[in-house]
Assembly symmetry: none
Homo-oligomer: 210 residues x 4
DNA sequence: GATGAATGAGGATTCATTCAT
DNA sequence: TATGAATGAATCCTCATTCAT
């Protein structure tokens, strides 16, 4: 009982401290993302990031052992957002037939790229430098796994094919078509062209699978 | 006659000088590529590059106004190689029917990525940082234009579609499938899997176009 | 009371930090002046200055954004010293009649040039290069303004003349005569010759004004 | 006879060669002056100067052993021009009474500063850096000697004074008043103000001497 | 824990000068 | 003698990281 009585006393404190830590960490990740987007990788010095986050460089190094680890955290946060979208989308289309499902997935992929396209671009560009290429793969591979699961569940709608290969082809193509459209072909983002892009990408994948 | 006899006397000199310049420039580009591949962008300091090229930093700056310009030269050289492969391939398949042509193009794309995959990878990663994203587009767009021309010439084999969009979809997909396979999925490069990748990619594109 | 008792706890820290900063800044300015004097402008590299100041280059750039700004700080410090002498002198002679006042000002001008003649010389030589020519003018112009004010107050002792022009003529002449004597004619600094120089300069100015 | 017969044959050649040398030297000095004026000391690299002179760096070093020697040559040429003006002026006023003579000398000093004020300014600023401060003194001292000679010749018009000291006072003051007016007080160069400056400077010197 | 002053290796670039052709 | 490619020491400055307070 005593112990339990104490908890309310200490927990808040720890919470406060934990919350503060959490807040600092968040502020740092947020500041990093902001600077990366607004000023580019080369301007993103640790001192600048700390300043933008409203903490000292010392504190930055309290929470992140290196600059790289900070960038990795930004990447992780961004990818987690994307993965959540992907998971939701896959869950949503789980029982839809392939044409409908693919169309929805393509649309979602474009939407996802639009969440924070500038950050996405910077990360796509700077990510290699962190030696975390694998990271991006972690992302791709999870999506790829989920998509393969979907295909497996809809095997009867498919022609006879190797699911691994098929998932690779589909995921890679969809990613490339939407990524390039958003990042390098902004003209493709007009309502109308984007619609046609969805049509065509869907067509590409559906014809391929069936 | 005399005057002509003299020429050999002077010409070699100029040649010698020009050759020396040319050799220095080549050595620098070559050294840059080598270091980029072997040690990564961050280790590629101008002094290191000059040393690796067997010339002085001063000479480096005689021929290249900045470090970036050197990297750009490496990119340009690499892309010119790729473009040559692409041009040749398109010329070669010009009169082939779509299935054969696409299969050949996919195979060539893989080959092209294999010319110097490590360099390709580093450049793909660093290119954004040089502010020469347009460059890669220059490349992609030339290929895209050539491919559209091919499609136009084979319009009767196609379903009714917008050539611009079709070229975008095909070029982007082929590039992504081969690029990722070569750079991120080395397991796909076994003779057998590579063959299946060609099959699948070809299937993807052909079904899409027809 | 408690809160007040705490202050001593925090204040020293801040003070310590502020003092350290201040000490670093002073050491840098001092080191710059010293090197400028002993080794000349061209030897005054930022690394050398930092070393001489007993701090790292990094610290130098923490407090001065560029080499030039350091030199400017040295100039400013020196000029402030001179201006203080000038202000004091003018205040001191404010109520003296022109002959006594001018004699005193000339003597003070020589004294001022003797405060740190080597530094004065290097700065006079290098100042133009810093793009701070205006600075020296700021100095001259403040003195010129103060002197004009003196003349104005003693208008009744003067012949009829344009105060602006008169101040220009007097200030420029006194400055040149003392500056050149101290910097280029060290032989003029023997007790006796210096005395005659004061006589003559005073004569020049007094006859001119009356 | 033979030998003499040959001379006409060789001499022209030598002449040609000497003329060419002379022309190259002149072109280099001229180019240096031009770059110094237009782009400043820091932009005046030897390569740049050689290029501007239309010769190779190698040739530059054929005629000038160092960059400094080139700058010194520019200074020498400029000072010789000024000295010529000074000599002419002194000769011209030799028999004039002091007031007329001084007035003329002041006017000539202003004119002299206007010959190439920008060059004069750059040289005045950069000269110290060449370690040729003595040079400027060579100039001043020649003028000072000539002026002293004038004073000596007009001793009967003077009050009793030390000619060395008097020459120092006069030459220094005139130089400073005209130099500053031309270089730092361009507003003083309006026809009218310049006239008053001449009046005042003359007044200053004449009252001092008599 | 937080702070921010201090560190110093390292990097891009310049330029006076040399020397092979 | 002219050329201009080559040299490389030297310079200014940045930034990830540490540590005394």
């Amino acid at each position: 009982m005593r112990a339990m009585a104490r908890k309310p006393l200490t927990k808040p404190r720890k919470h406060a401290s934990q919350d503060r830590s959490r807040a600092t960490v968040d502020a740092l990740i947020e500041a990093t993302a902001r600077i990366l987007v607004r000023e580019g990788f080369d301007k993103a010095s640790t001192n600048r990031i700390a300043e933008a986050a409203g903490v000292s460089v010392g504190s930055l190094y309290q929470y992140f052992p290196s600059k790289e680890s900070l960038v990795v955290a930004v990447i992780a946060r961004h990818q987690e957002e994307l993965m959540q979208i992907a998971r939701d989308a896959l869950a949503e289309v789980a029982s839809l037939p392939i044409p409908k499902a693919v169309r929805r997935l393509v649309a979602v992929a474009i939407e996802a790229h639009r969440v924070d396209p500038k950050l996405h671009r910077v990360l796509a560009e700077q990510l290699p430098r962190t030696g975390r290429l694998e990271n991006i793969d972690v992302f791709n591979r999870e999506f790829y796994t989920l998509f393969k699961r979907y295909l497996d569940a809809h095997r009867d709608e498919l022609r006879n094919l190797d699911l691994d290969m098929a998932a690779y082809v589909c995921v890679t193509s969809i990613e490339a078509l939407t990524h390039n459209a958003v990042l390098h072909r902004s003209e493709m983002l007009s309502e109308e062209v984007a619609g046609r892009l969805v049509d065509e990408a869907t067509h590409l994948i559906v014809k391929y699978l069936q």
